[in-house]
Amino acid sequence: MRPYFRLFSAIGGKVKRKEYDNLAGYIFIMPWLFGFLAFMIVPMIMSLYLSLTRYNVLSSPTWVGLENYIKIFTKDPRFVQSLKVTGVYVATAVPLRLTFALFLAVLFSQKRMLVGFYRTIYYVPSLIGGSVAVAVMWRQLFGVYGALNSFLTSSGIMESNFGWITNPRTALWSLIVLAAWQFGSPMLIFLAGLKQIPASLYEVAAIDGANWWQTFTRITIPMLSPVIFFNLVMQTINNFMMFTQAYIITEGHPFDRTLVYILYLFQRGFTYNQMGYACALAWVLLVVVGIVTALIFKSSPHWVYYESKGDL
């Protein structure tokens, strides 16, 4: 410490102890700060600039002002379609995933044999769920010649094979089911939240003769609501940015029925070489996600219960 101190006093003349501490702090976070500036702030500024240009990657970008944004909002039916698909996806996949997560968390919060083992097992899908390998497996499972069809036809439930991931009626659902299956991380957070609920509340309820359902809806849910709120916000943001699964499993087929927003953005940028347009799409998504998140926050006073309101 000492030599540094001397160094700074030499540079800045009289450096007060506090300023010196701040400086040392900045130096300690320098690697992170550098990464943040170089890999977050600079690309973001570049992306904002590129969204105002026409840029085909091969030649240098040309300034077009708001043209990309105007085109997105006035004559791009695929933008509307991708927003619709993403909306349906988020609105179904998030509640499904959270329901599953909560259900299993309640189940695993009880003290039983092997409960730790099951917690681990059920967490595995979310560790690997976003990966390419699982997406490929999903394709095999739900494909025309996949395991699901083999089971359904051999057991006589269905007569012929069905393209679950390609048929317009079911394609998006194959992605939603995959999303619901990745309930691991909200499940862990729910588990932690459940442990925070004072046991005395349950004891009181038991003395008063409340049944399981009453206990669950009157004690567990309200006490857990801040955690539910947190999970809801995180999962909504995450699912707006879903890409890998759609890219590998359905590629937006059939006729854009599974064209989630990021997939469309990727297509514009990397398949059609319209990087400026893709950047503009990214900024529009930022605003959309911002609005949705704000709405969730706005709704929170009506259903989220904080025991220690105002104490902070």
Partner: protein
């Protein structure tokens, strides 16, 4: 990676003198060589290409061989993968610093020509440095822009119908031959379905997620897929679109071709239906027969796409896999042309390259390699050779919006097969959406 070691340099020094003697002798004897590379002048050429590690290794070996035969020319290779190659070229072009020889793609040839970055190769053909006597005119013309030659194709390809001869024999249908018609195709397909109970093929040849099937059909009837301007499609009447996709729709309804459900799942050569004997036919580029045969683990054969009864020309075209071009930054175009000639005509060089860039364009080289080929490679050599006679010249390179047009076609095709739109509505929707994208809206 280690291109030259010190010992090689010394060897080079010895053979330089030898080679000079040979060169002088040849010049004296024949007296016809219009150009003698002066031995005092040491020329350094730069060559840039993209490719896989295998291509890098093979090309470096050929460069070594060329340097041995031409001791006064030193070659500096610059190679990368496809990703990043064109960014690098764009930067070099901006800095007036392009390599003497650059590997060129069909899609970019026009762009580079229009930007005045390339030198015409015709003078070197006239002076005899670049020998194209063993190359088909139709192959050569693919490298022409504005009537002048700006690229020498490094290999040829064309699309083909691939079939399983054993399954066809079992179904009791004759093997298709060059000159078969769309009617023959449909008849063959129906018979495969009715006798074997499997799909005839996944789709009409290259009709799904691919424009080549429709392009072939349009070309047969005298149209091109794109207008030469690249700003709109090459046809206005939707009838040909309707006719082509009607065959597909009809056969799907009959259960002869696979439904869209299955087609949308196919992503690779390895899971094509023909591989697992769920179909007896498929459509691929000639060089892919090697990959698909090995995936299937049994011998497959191939032939050209069907003719149309009323066709005005052959729909098939021979596609150059890539080119070598001499750039305007080259100070030694003559030496560069010499290298391209070596690459194109030297049987020794091509024995190293082994058609990695496609079927060699020189018929002499093709003959020279024949005995060394695997049966599948030989088949693709033969078919590309035959296609020289049963094809018409390739259309100009596709416009930048090509990738988007493919997606639109796929979109509309799916709508047709799922019954969301009729054939006529689909044809109209495709034309309108594609034209809008091509016009740059």
């Amino acid at each position: 990676m280690g291109l030259r070691e010190p010992s090689n340099l010394r060897e080079g020094g010895i053979s330089m003198r030898k080679c000079l003697v040979v060169l002088l002798l040849v010049t004296l004897l024949l007296g016809t060589l219009p150009f003698v590379v002066s031995a005092e002048e040491e020329i350094t050429l730069r060559i840039s290409w993209w490719g896989s590690q295998k291509r890098h290794d093979l090309t470096l070996k050929v460069i070594e061989l060329f340097e041995k035969e031409n001791p006064n020319i030193k070659i500096k290779p610059e190679y990368t993968g496809w990703g990043g190659y064109w960014d690098k070229m764009a930067a070099q072009a901006a800095g007036n610093n392009l390599a003497d020889i650059m590997q060129q793609d069909y899609k970019y040839l026009h762009q580079y020509y229009q930007s005045g970055l390339l030198q015409p190769l015709d003078p070197f053909i006239k002076s005899g440095v670049l020998d194209v006597s063993a190359v088909d005119e139709s192959v050569l013309s693919s490298g022409k822009v504005g009537g002048e030659l700006y690229g020498i194709s490094l290999g040829s390809n064309n699309y083909a119908v691939i079939y399983d001869p054993e399954l066809l024999a079992k179904a009791g249908v004759p093997e298709p031959k060059i000159g078969w018609t769309w009617e023959d195709y449909m008849e063959t397909a129906r018979k495969i379905k009715s006798t074997l109970g499997i799909y005839a093929a996944e789709a009409m040849p290259m009709s799904t997620n691919n424009i080549s099937g429709l392009e072939h059909y349009l070309r047969q009837h005298g149209y091109a897929f794109y207008d030469p301007s690249g700003k709109k499609l090459g046809y206005e009447d939707d009838q040909l679109f309707v006719d082509f996709y009607k065959m597909d729709l009809q056969l799907v309804k009959e259960g002869v071709l696979a439904p869209m459900d299955i087609r949308l799942e196919q992503h690779t050569v390895e899971n094509d239906l023909i591989v697992s004997k769920k179909a007896a036919m498929a459509a691929y580029w000639t060089n892919q027969i090697v990959a698909i045969s090995s995936a299937a683990g049994r011998p497959l054969k191939m032939t050209l796409f069907p003719d149309a009864k009323d066709q005005v020309r052959y729909g098939t075209y021979i596609k150059p896999s890539m080119f070598f071009s001499i750039t305007k930054n080259s100070k030694h175009p003559e030496a560069a042309a010499k290298f391209i000639d070596f690459f194109t005509n030297s049987i020794e060089a091509n024995k190293i390259l082994m058609a990695e860039r496609g079927v060699p364009i020189s018929s002499k080289v093709r003959e020279g390699l024949m005995s060394l080929l695997s049966p599948e490679q030989r088949m693709s050599f033969e078919l590309v050779g035959l296609a020289g006679r049963y094809s018409s010249p390739i259309d100009p390179p596709p416009p930048p919006a090509h990738a988007e047009v493919i997606d639109i076609l796929e979109d509309v095709h799916a709508k047709i097969l799922y019954g969301v739109v009729t054939l006529e509505e689909g044809a109209k929707e495709f034309r309108e959406r594609a034209n809008a994208v091509l016009a740059g809206e």
